[in-house]
């Protein structure tokens, strides 16, 4: 299915989920589809770490649903993450593996070993049981609610088989945030919706000197 169409569908079905994107294309596509500058954290060039970042967030905020995107290029760098996610088994976390069989952030360079990679089978082999895979828009539209929007008591892993970005897609703008601005936009949003104090670490010994 078309990468950007797929992400636009997710954006339309999103309600109040917090979103963590991965390097390159998923951040571009999510920014194009959502223009979300507060409840999404664009973890650019994270080299396989977006869903572990999301796991830490999901652990800290069990009352909120977290969606996390990861490309298959990143996944292949650290598939062991799935074992950790399986053991954490956070029911508020959905890991979307966006399989475009390319290093999308690196000019669509081909992903080695791509032809025989079966990510859903890998996940099942690691002991995950809420594993879903969609390779067309009709399939995604038909199965999305069962896969993602049910309040399942388990961690969920969703493979989205998409076509690589086109040349035109590659020109989609990246989210226009430098690192600290991204941190504060997202963190202040978390503070507002949770009433937690993310940035005001309170000095144990009292006021600053």
């Amino acid at each position: 299915m078309n990468y950007v169409d797929c992400i636009r569908f997710l954006a339309k079905r999103r309600t109040d989920q917090l979103v963590i994107t991965s390097a390159g294309n998923s951040g571009q596509a999510w920014w194009a589809a959502s223009r979300d500058a507060e409840a999404s954290f664009y973890l650019d060039a994270s080299m396989s770490l977006s869903t572990m970042f999301a796991s830490g967030l999901a652990f800290a905020l069990p009352e909120f649903k977290i969606w996390s995107f990861m490309g298959d290029g990143a996944f292949c760098m650290n598939p062991g993450m799935l074992m950790v996610e399986r053991d954490m088994d956070l029911p508020n976390l959905t890991h979307f593996l966006i399989s475009n069989r390319r290093y999308g952030a690196t000019g669509n360079a081909g992903l080695p070993n791509q032809k025989r990679n079966d990510y859903a089978a890998i996940a099942r082999g690691m002991g995950l049981d809420r594993v879903f895979s969609f390779d067309s828009m009709p399939a995604l539209e038909g199965g999305f609610d069962t896969a993602v929007l049910t309040n399942a008591p388990r961690y969920t892993f969703v493979v989205l088989e998409v076509e690589p970005f086109t040349d035109a897609d590659q020109k989609l703008p990246h989210p226009p945030f430098e690192g600290p601005e991204m941190k504060y936009r997202f963190g202040r949003h978390i503070e507002r919706i949770t009433k937690r104090n993310i940035f005001g670490y309170e000095l144990k010994d009292g006021h600053p000197e």
């Binding site: 770490l49 977006s50 970042f53 800290a60 941190k183 978390i190 940035f199």
Partner: protein
Amino acid sequence: MNKRADVAKQITEEFASSGIKLVATLPDNWINPLIDTIDRDRRFTHIPVNREESAVALCSGAFMGGTGSVALMGASGFMTLIYAITKINYTYEIPVFYVITLRGAVGDPNRHHVSNGLYLRRVIDAIDMPCTIIDRPEEIPLLSRAYRHSRNFYRSTVVALTRDLLR
């Protein structure tokens, strides 16, 4: 209580008093008793990870959710982290608190840690990460000071525990 158990207990008390709830670990012989102590302590959620970079991201996400955490690992694992630290911790200014072993220093009998002896401190210095070395039990309270520093300045910090402390 033997020395290792007592040191492990003191360290966990420092973690708890700092507000740390999540502990991501990878093993090292010197800190395995500490990891076991943490695993049994219900004040913490212990997440054994299988790659050190996963600890960086896990603790970074926990910070963004307002939960205190520590990444506990050996020196060799820490040496694999330069991209993850400079990418996530430095680019976004998200502080992670690292506690590692000071492998390769004088007194380490394991010859295979020669590279850590040569380069660990220099690598930490190269990325300008504040580093505290704890060599004796009476210095263990420096852990909570280093943690507070990381939160006050939004800078990742590392505490290196020596063999004399841990063995």
